[in-house]
């Protein structure tokens, strides 16, 4: 074979290999969408959504608020991120702050009505620590009403500030909520479809996180079911991937883009 022909054959072979490699990973290098900030909980979260071939839907269920990105013609493959709004709403800190700021502009009836709405939930506590904090907040709020009727406005403010101090001193932890939010096949509609896999500690945007790499058996094929949970600024979040190994890198790239903007007054 002449040398020039030999070179051509090598070049053609290399080009063919490159083409094969790119065909095997058609979407690996597909850029994510520009970063967006979501305010599902008091702590905003920012991340780059997956490419537009993953269409999005709002996700509001099970005490969470979030967004689900569903792969077009992907046979049920999706990436979702969500915040646990119901957990965040258990702490009345923000509502106490608001009431302290506007108490002078309210009538007596309005003020007492607002105070009654501040009571921390004591049913089904997340932990013993949360139960103690809730009881302490409610004791301070009970004193608000009695001091108000005793004509002691100074004491009323002190009681509200005491409730605020206690509420501000508590932030839920990942350990407290993990038993409630991680996958329990026996609690699912069809428990036999789930296979628990590997659990590991990881990090999301510099914050400690828990990850679980499980499997979902669908009628068509088994799908990876990977979950990551973390808590930032007293708000819990999850990221879930349900899909094939081929699209798992897209999930990881979305997760790697997660950041937590500072809480501004406007977003509180």
């Amino acid at each position: 074979m002449p040398r020039s022909t030999h070179r051509l054959a090598i070049l053609a072979g290399l080009a063919g290999l490159a083409l094969l490699a790119s065909c095997g990973r058609p979407h690996q290098d597909e850029p994510l969408l520009p970063v967006e900030t979501f305010s599902w909980c008091p702590q905003p979260i920012a991340f780059a959504p997956p490419p537009s071939r993953w269409y999005r839907q709002g996700d509001n269920g099970g005490g969470t608020l979030g967004v689900r990105f569903i792969l077009r013609d992907g046979g049920g493959q999706c990436i979702s991120l969500a915040g646990y709004r119901a957990f965040a709403e258990r702490n009345p800190k923000a509502a106490i702050e608001r009431l302290i700021g506007r108490r002078d502009s309210l009538s007596e009836r309005e003020f007492l009505n607002e105070v009654s709405k501040l009571r921390a939930r004591t049913d089904d506590p997340l932990s013993d620590r949360e139960a103690m904090v809730a009881a302490s907040i409610n004791e301070s709020l009970d004193r608000v009403a009695s001091d108000h009727f005793a004509g002691q406005p100074g004491f009323v403010l002190a009681d509200l500030e005491s409730a605020l101090r206690v509420a501000s001193g508590y932030q839920m932890t990942l350990e407290e909520i993990l038993p409630r939010i991680r996958l329990h096949p026996e609690r699912m509609h069809e428990p036999e479809r789930w296979r628990l896999g590997y659990e590991r500690d990881t990090v999301v945007a510099g914050h400690p996180a828990f990850a679980s790499d499980d499997t979902l058996i669908t009628d068509e094929r088994p799908l990876l079911y990977h979950q990551v949970f973390w808590v930032v600024g007293g708000c819990a979040f999850n990221a879930i991937y349900q899909g094939t190994a081929e699209n798992l890198p897209t999930f990881h790239r979305v997760l790697d883009s997660v950041a937590f903007p500072e809480i501004t007054i406007a977003s509180r």
Binding site: R56, Q57, G58, N60, G66, V67, A266
Partner: protein, 175 residues
């Protein structure tokens, strides 16, 4: 030969008629929207429904509205509203729920007035984009909004309409 000439003349007449009717659609018209005396050019093909304080622009299943949402200072004893408060007031007059959030906001000078243009979307998923723009004249807010229909249809109509709205209220006596 004569027949050909007649056909040509008829075609020319028809073309002229069509062109005239198209031009007619783009003619500016005056409307009274609440206290606002407004001159605007409706987007081609959009029907204008005059409802006094609220005028609707409809095409198929899509709708825009131009509304006088009320005084810019409802509580005369309160200090002047900030830009954020004005935006919240105007958006609240359309959808009191907290399902929408502001994706983008900018002030632009149009036809001699400052319009605040707001792009909103679903707070949860950043889907369902919508548009709202407002200005102040004669002590009242004048608001243009996309009501319903796909943004691919309502967005261009919104831009087209907004570019032509001239609020002439300050030249007229408010009702």
């Amino acid at each position: 030969m004569r027949r050909a000439e007649a056909i040509a003349a008829l075609s020319a007449l028809l073309a002229l008629g069509a062109a005239c009717s198209r031009r007619e659609e783009r003619v500016a018209r005056d409307y009274q929207v609440g206290v606002h005396q407004v001159r605007l050019v409706a987007p081609p093909g959009w029907e204008v429904i005059e409802h006094g304080r609220q005028h609707l622009f409809r095409k198929d299943q899509s709708e825009l509205s131009l509304v006088d949402v009320g005084p810019t200072n409802p509580d005369s004893t309160a200090p002047q509203m900030t830009r954020d408060q004005k935006t919240a007031y105007v958006l609240g007059s359309f959808d009191p729920s907290d399902r929408k959030e502001i994706a983008q906001r900018e002030d632009r000078l149009r036809q001699g007035r400052v319009w605040t243009e707001v792009h909103t979307w679903s707070r949860v998923s950043h889907t369902d984009p919508a548009r709202v723009a407002f200005t102040e004249a004669a002590g009242h807010f004048l608001v243009l909004a996309t009501d319903y229909g796909p943004i691919e249809v309502t967005g261009p109509a919104f831009d087209s309409l907004l570019a032509t709205i001239e609020d002439r209220s300050d030249r007229a006596t408010p009702r």
